[in-house]
């Protein structure tokens, strides 16, 4: 990575090297971070991360070079990415807590990507992603508990239910904007939470317990996962499942961002009236953003419910929505990589800095305010699109 950036960037070999090195370094960094016990080490790693970010920002040529390398070698990049993600659990040395944190981080990454469609692409402040997450979790859990529906069927079913609610939530957006719309989403979140908390069939404040463990081809997800004679803790099952969901979410996010739909969202973010005057049906695209958000959040909710085995209304409060929003804002609105980094960082930090975990909510609040005041574009600012390559 220390190549001088004045070199011609057409060199396929150096591109391949970059594509190989960056994910490995990233994974190595994440491993150290996950396994770090001492808070000083955690802070040190954090400082290192900050230095890398600053260097990348100061040297736009280096950044462009890395970017072009990934664009050129996109197949190789995909392959390296898959190998790194598949191999990562083996590098954690059977540390179940680290694996657990990975699973949670990845679920939050999916939620942050979901919210990014609205907050990032279309600038719609939706404070109800946590509610959609909860609707997904409850829908699948209820299907499994009451009708014996298997996880694999409950997963898409719950996503559909969440999407329907997303559409419903989107309907007021046809008439309301900005603060008014934000209030509608907050109100929706509170209504969902209160209903879950009070209705009989959702188990009230105690929630739902005994959600069955998913199975795949006779392999229960509560059993250790044996691959190539190597045994991984049971959490690895869910690690791979969530990784797959993250992958799908990234594909969704990328394809939508680079499509006519993503452009329309960006247009209405910049200037709603001008967007209408280019022929964009602003209302429809807003509702669509709500639906896509709820769809992905529904998936994440299902995996969470089956992973943890019990859910209660308090897993899906307004604060969860704010947490997801913090991840999107800190990571970088409308930047897929940024949003994922934001999700990992903000999930892991409070866990790794134990003394600090009591102040987790305070930390999220302060983070949002500071980012909005000092660096509203987030850690990774949005990028201009490219065509034809």
């Amino acid at each position: 990575m220390a190549h001088p950036s004045s070199q011609p960037s057409g060199n396929a070999l150096s591109a391949a090297f970059i594509v190989l090195a960056v994910p490995l370094i990233g994974a190595g960094f994440l491993r150290q971070f996950l396994l770090a016990e001492d808070w000083r080490l955690v802070l040190g790693l954090l400082a290192l991360f900050a230095v890398v970010l600053v260097v990348l920002e100061r040297l736009p040529a280096l950044e462009t070079r890395i970017e072009t390398a990934f664009a050129r070698q996109s197949r190789l990049a995909l392959l390296v990415g898959i190998v790194v993600v598949l191999g990562f659990p083996f590098a954690l040395g059977g540390n179940t807590y680290a694996l657990h944190l990975c699973v949670i981080s990845m679920l939050y990454a999916v939620l942050a990507l979901a919210l990014n469609f609205q907050l990032g692409s279309a600038n719609i402040p939706n404070f109800a992603t946590g509610a959609s997450y909860g609707i997904g979790a409850y829908a699948s859990a209820l299907l499994a508990l009451n009708f014996g529906v298997s996880f694999w069927l409950a997963l898409p079913a719950a996503a559909v239910v969440a999407t329907i609610f997303g559409f419903l939530l989107g309907i007021p957006s046809m008439r309301t904007r900005d603060s008014y719309l934000a209030l509608v989403t907050i109100a929706f979140g509170v209504v969902v939470h209160q209903l879950l908390n009070n209705l009989e069939f959702t188990g009230g404040p105690n929630g739902l317990v005994g959600i069955p463990v998913p199975e795949l081809f006779g392999h229960a997800f509560s059993d250790p996962l044996v691959i190539f004679g190597q045994s991984l803790p049971p959490q690895a099952n869910f690690y791979y499942l969530s990784a797959l969901l993250v992958f799908i979410s990234i594909v969704f996010a990328e394809r939508l961002h680079d499509s006519r739909v993503g452009l329309a969202w960006n247009a209405l973010r910049a200037d709603e009236l001008a967007a209408r005057c280019q022929g964009i049906n602003v209302t429809w695209y807003k509702v669509l953003a709500f639906a896509v958000d709820a769809f992905l959040a529904g998936f994440a909710g299902t995996i969470y419910a089956f992973y943890v085995g019990f859910i209660s209304p308090d897993n899906f409060t307004f604060l969860v929505s704010v947490t997801i929003m913090t991840m999107v804002i800190a990571g970088g609105m409308d930047n897929i990589l940024g949003v994922i980094v934001g999700a990992f960082l903000l999930t892991l930090l409070p866990e790794k800095l134990r003394a600090f975990s009591d102040y987790r909510i305070l930390f999220f609040g302060v983070t949002v305010i500071l980012f909005l005041m000092i660096r509203p574009q987030g850690l990774f600012p949005q990028r201009l699109r490219r065509y034809g390559d």
Binding site: R255, D258, R260, L263, R276, C277, Q278, G279, V292, L384
Partner: protein, 270 residues
């Protein structure tokens, strides 16, 4: 260059009245626009010029009266569908998508000529991408034809452009919708004489390439009004004061008093 009197009507307005609460912003205004014609609209601030544009583009629904595009009634048609039918516009205070690239701005103008939805974008990526790449190619051609200088800046964020280039981009973005009628709201506002001249040349070139395109231009700059439009309509207090070739309307005393004169005194005072 005159406009043939046999050219068919593209756009017409009849008895257009717009009330906001008790305020009458426009009363009984009628207008016509022929294919290939350039119609200038002048009048003091608050005369209802922008209101007229907003009515035509569906941002306001007129309290009474009717707008017809090629004989089809537009009242109540939502703004985004009016664009698809062939009316595009620019804004007085250029409203670009500032954080998107110049090229993206024009590609968004192709929205009504592309179709890919969420499903296509995700599951039929090849098709969606081909469609968008074609739109981008079209947009590049359009940028080239409107202004070389703008084309050279196509990968910059639109917000970084200079004032004159913003206007050009807005025009290019509007043209990307393949309009039959293009409405320009004070294209020269905030620009000096040299920039205005260059813009006028660009607008002429655009019209020369598209002989069928009808234009409506709201303007304050008298040099532009005197030379560009075939015909000028004067609005004052929401009413039509005059309608005819510039050489004729400038002789009407009430027009001089209502607009030209006032403008002249403003100049004298400034």
């Amino acid at each position: 260059m005159g406009i043939s009197s046999s050219a068919p009507l593209v756009l017409e307005g009849e008895n257009l009245t717009m009330r906001f609460g008790g305020l009458v912003a426009m009363a009984e205004v009628a207008f016509t626009l022929k294919r290939g014609e350039i119609l200038g609209i002048i009048g003091p601030n608050g005369a209802g010029k922008s209101t007229l544009l907003n009515i035509i583009t569906g941002i306001y629904v007129p309290s009474s009266g009717e707008v017809r595009l090629e004989g089809q009634r537009l009242n109540g048609v939502p703004a985004h569908k009016i664009v698809a039918r062939g009316i595009a516009r620019t804004f007085q205070s250029s409203r670009l998508f500032a954080d998107l690239s110049v090229l993206d701005n024009v590609v968004i103008g192709r929205h009504t000529h592309t179709k890919a939805g969420v499903f296509d974008a995700i599951f039929r990526r090849r098709r969606a991408k081909a469609e968008l790449d074609a739109a981008a190619a079209h947009a590049e051609d359009l940028l080239k034809s409107v202004s070389r200088g703008l084309y050279a800046q196509r990968h910059r964020p639109a917000g970084e452009l200079a004032q004159a280039d913003r206007r050009r981009l807005e025009i290019a973005r509007a043209l990307a919708t393949d309009p039959k009628v293009l409405l320009l709201d004070e294209p020269s506002s905030g620009m000096d004489d040299a920039d205005t001249d260059a813009l006028m040349d660009d607008i002429r070139a655009v019209c020369a390439q598209r002989p069928d395109l009808a234009l409506m231009i709201i303007e304050h700059d008298m040099r532009l009004v005197a030379s560009l439009p075939h015909r000028v309509m004067v609005l004052d207090y929401g009413q039509k004061l005059a309608d005819g070739p510039y050489e004729e309307i400038r002789k009407i005393p009430r027009v001089q008093e209502a607009y030209l004169g006032r403008k002249a005194t403003q100049h004298a005072g400034a």
